[in-house]
């Protein structure tokens, strides 16, 4: 067992975890933050993507002890009260989802993509989302959502 202390969606959290506990299991089972999904559990689909110190990482392939001291943001930490985060807003406006299972991971990955590149080209969006798989949309509306989010964020 190890003691970890981290900032989770803005709140200080400390907990004892088994060293083998994956971050996604810590978030879902110990913290009841079930918005972060487990899709493939093999580091491919990206449904479990969360932000660790601002960087999008796959929480199914990260130990909870590894993020000791880090700032973690999950999908639950994106909206400000009733006001959606611009990336969430864009996915809603552009219907960038169908079943919604991949969406939390998509939103987190897009947030990091736009942090690094506020005005991505279509090619950059596709390359930037290679780690996130959607089986419903065919990605067309997801790409639209990223472009829309880019506009919303530029408008402040």
């Amino acid at each position: 067992m190890s003691r970890i202390e981290l900032t989770l969606n803005g709140k200080a959290v400390s907990a004892d975890v088994e060293d083998r506990t994956l971050l996604v299991n810590f978030l879902r089972d110990a913290q009841q933050l079930t918005g972060t999904h487990v899709g493939c559990d093999t580091t491919q689909c990206g449904a479990c993507t969360v932000l660790v110190d601002g960087r999008a990482l796959k929480s199914c392939t990260l130990l909870a002890v590894q993020v000791n001291g880090a700032k973690i943001t999950t999908i639950e930490g994106m909206a400000n009260g009733e006001a959606l985060h611009p990336v969430q807003q864009a996915f809603s406006e552009c219907h960038g989802l169908q079943c919604g299972y991949c969406t939390p991971g998509m939103v987190m990955a897009v947030t990091d993509l736009l942090r690094r590149n506020p005005k991505p080209t279509e090619e950059q969006i596709l390359h930037g989302l290679e780690g996130n798989i959607c089986r419903c949309t065919g990605y067309v509306n997801i790409v639209k959502s990223v472009k829309r989010a880019s506009e919303l964020m530029a408008a402040g």
Binding site: T42, T43, L62, V65, Q66, G128
Partner: protein, 265 residues
């Protein structure tokens, strides 16, 4: 995963001492291969000794005609490094094509070459450029380092600390990525070095290898045409539902030609 204890050493020396004292401990760099393997219970360890965060292993520097990349430099660091981009742009592009953005934040060059997956990208760059693998004990030439399927010259508890790349005149790397995994079904690195042409192939066989016929042909004429119909022994190539040996051999010729085009600019 089976139970293990997580250990965060403060230095390479401490990690090496820990590994020497604990025979069942394993080194973790980025964890992008080791953790999935452990999750499937295909690997286990008494301890995971996590060297990925060590600052001393993360530097990327130019030393004269050598580019030195620390073993814990992530693919994201390498793809975005101005030093790499200026010295060996083909290596930066190689790093940009590994996995996906989330994986590139964590996966490292040292982890990749210590694992030596037969379809990984870095082994092609390291062998193709005739690099030297530096460990906490010694230096190993790439030609001696890679020894086939998941096998390297590393001894028990030996820690890769850096890779030293001689800066080539020009180089190119192109892979045919598996559509689902992104791993190379065939990837060819071509380097025009100060001391000849080197061609390294990954993804096709049991491990990265040099393609002597292509090296000879390109030394005579650095052009894609020089590769037309060139001999390539495919008898040791992998064969699976994705591709036959012959198909992989043909992919190698096509990827090599594209790598030459990239090298020519």
């Amino acid at each position: 995963m089976y139970e293990f204890e997580y250990v965060r050493p403060k230095s390479v020396a401490e990690a090496a001492g820990f590994l020497a004292a604990n025979g069942e401990a394993r080194l973790m760099s980025g964890g992008m291969t080791l953790l999935p393997t452990m999750k499937q219970r295909l690997a286990q360890a008494s301890h995971l000794v996590h060297v990925g965060p060590l600052g001393e292993l993360k530097s990327i520097t130019r030393e004269g005609d050598m580019l030195v990349i620390g073993s814990a430099a992530t693919h994201d660091q390498v793809q975005g490094s101005e030093v790499v981009g200026a010295a060996i742009p083909a290596l930066a592009r190689l790093a940009r094509g590994i996995g996906d953005p989330q994986v590139r934040y964590m996966g490292t060059i040292g982890g990749s070459i210590a694992n030596n997956d037969p379809a990984a990208d870095y082994p092609a760059g390291v062998l193709g450029l005739g690099a030297t693998v530096v460990t906490h004990l010694r230096q190993i030439a790439a030609d001696d380092y890679f020894q086939g399927l998941f096998t390297t010259a590393l001894g028990e508890g030996e820690i890769v600390t850096a890779v030293r790349f001689p800066v080539p005149r020009r180089a190119g790397y192109v892979k045919f990525a598996h559509p689902a995994t992104g791993y190379a079904m065939s990837g060819v690195f071509v380097a025009d070095t100060g001391s000849g042409v080197r061609v390294a192939v990954t993804g096709a066989g049991n491990g990265v290898f040099r393609w002597a016929e292509a090296e000879a042909a390109l030394a005579k004429s650095m052009s894609p045409k020089a590769l037309d119909g060139l001999a390539l022994d495919a008898s040791h190539f992998s064969e699976d539902i994705h591709a036959t040996r012959e198909y992989r051999a043909q992919l190698c010729r096509v990827m090599a030609a594209r790598a030459v085009n990239e090298l020519l600019g």
